[in-house]
Symmetry: C2
Subunit: 265 residues, 2 copies
């Protein structure tokens, strides 16, 4: 929701506003806003939409994904420590297999890449019954719907993974669920978030992107959106801050309790 739309445009033009530089220019805004009869809370209400990552952000599914990748890799004789897989979760499957094999020094043929992704999808499908929605996920989405803040889901996973979203969350028909199949490049490229914003009809630069991995936050930064981190995927807080998180919350329930901090009223 843009409140005081004209003034926002003016602010953009006059002080080169961008989420990425929010903290740096906050001081400038404090001087700028009163002249136009605005206060900082007005400024924060510029947020027009939310784009959510899925695994680790709305669903408690990261550890199942991690062990599914581990199973897929080991099935092809590739030994890799579980924590290294964990730290790559959230990337596209293609990038992830490439990155992991680089650590083992093995070349990645496109056949092996396809095989690994297929094996992961099968292993994950066997674990999907252990997946749960994260605390507050449904309440947060419902709250945004009630406030008429448009929201979307954008996941590096393919349709198999996205199916879990519909299994564990109530998602209104009009909500876009963008998957790896819809874009050319997945995270950490910004395509998924940009596509989600396009489908919402909102500028991605006014959107809050919520994710649990450094790849979400890197992609958010590249999309020039405001990145917000959640600890519920198992990353450490500082990793998320370093990757560009404007704020870090424990999980969707904690974000819901602090929505005002990210510009929603």
């Amino acid at each position: 929701m843009i409140i005081e739309g004209d003034v926002v445009t003016l602010a953009f033009a006059e002080i080169g506003w961008g989420w990425g530089g929010q903290l740096e220019i906050a001081e400038g805004l404090d001087a700028f806003l009163p002249e136009r009869g605005l206060t900082r809370p007005d400024m924060l209400s510029w947020v027009t939409a939310f784009v959510f990552d899925l695994d680790g952000t709305l669903l408690d599914s990261v550890y199942q994904h991690v062990l599914s990748w581990r199973e897929a890799l080991e099935g092809r004789g590739i030994q890799l420590s579980v924590w290294r897989i964990h730290r790559r979760i959230g990337m596209s499957g293609g990038l992830l297999t490439q990155a992991l094999l680089r650590e083992t020094g093995r070349p990645l043929s496109s056949e092996l890449a396809a095989e690994l992704q297929q094996a992961h999808a099968e292993a994950y499908a066997r674990r999907i019954d252990q997946v749960r929605p994260l605390p507050g996920a449904q309440e947060l989405l419902d709250d945004l719907t009630d406030r008429r803040v448009p929201w979307a889901i954008a996941t590096s996973g393919r349709q198999t993974s996205a199916a879990a979203a519909h299994k564990y969350l109530e998602i209104p028909d009009e909500v876009p669920v963008v998957t790896r199949d819809d874009v050319e490049h997945a995270k950490p490229d910004p395509d998924l978030f940009v596509e989600a914003a396009l489908q919402l009809g909102e500028p991605i630069t006014d959107a809050v992107v919520v994710g649990d991995s450094v790849w979400d936050l890197l992609a958010a930064r590249r999309a020039n959106a405001l990145g917000v981190g959640l600890l519920s995927g198992g990353y450490g807080e500082e990793e998320l801050v370093r990757a560009g998180a404007y704020r870090v919350y424990a999980d969707p329930a904690d974000l819901l309790a602090h929505l005002d901090e990210v510009g929603v009223r």
Copy 2:
């Protein structure tokens, strides 16, 4: 191994040496050492023993433990996000169940605690075949043995968990493997590390404690040992540094490649 033992004692006496204050007093040492014909590398060779945590430090078993606790909790109707369990791994099972239940607001009877620990042990036993030694674990231990640096293993787990150490690692008979059953309080109390050092016949204050969790590092600090962190349990680097890690390495292989940095020659 104490090199120049008398001078070390002298240094202790004169400048109140302790690992905890190492960085703070390094400057004082730089002035103190040359007077006695010593240089900083001599100082670092005071390390007399290594005490290793097991899960996430020598064995790639953290994610299996995490999902085993999840299964045990859910079997008793207790829903908890997986990442919250992950962040408690490394504590004693008793503390862990207490901490987790506090987050859910449920009281913990001693019957429920015993039930949960039993269910976890059974669930972990079913997953033990998926456990692997971490890269470089055996090589690191062998290297220390070759250099005649005494080492021990100290785990918050009970015998069931410790059995995995003997399954996946070659451990000489004379190496102490201290478990939860051997001490009154497990990590983050210092008892396990102190007991390991006692069994080695070396002062814990001259030992390097290697662990992957903040509980290891907290216990190391309380034992006044030098804590070294590994990322291989899935914690973030800054979490470990904040908890008191003097250095953080990726895994045992990475620590082996940098042994000189922690005072071994």
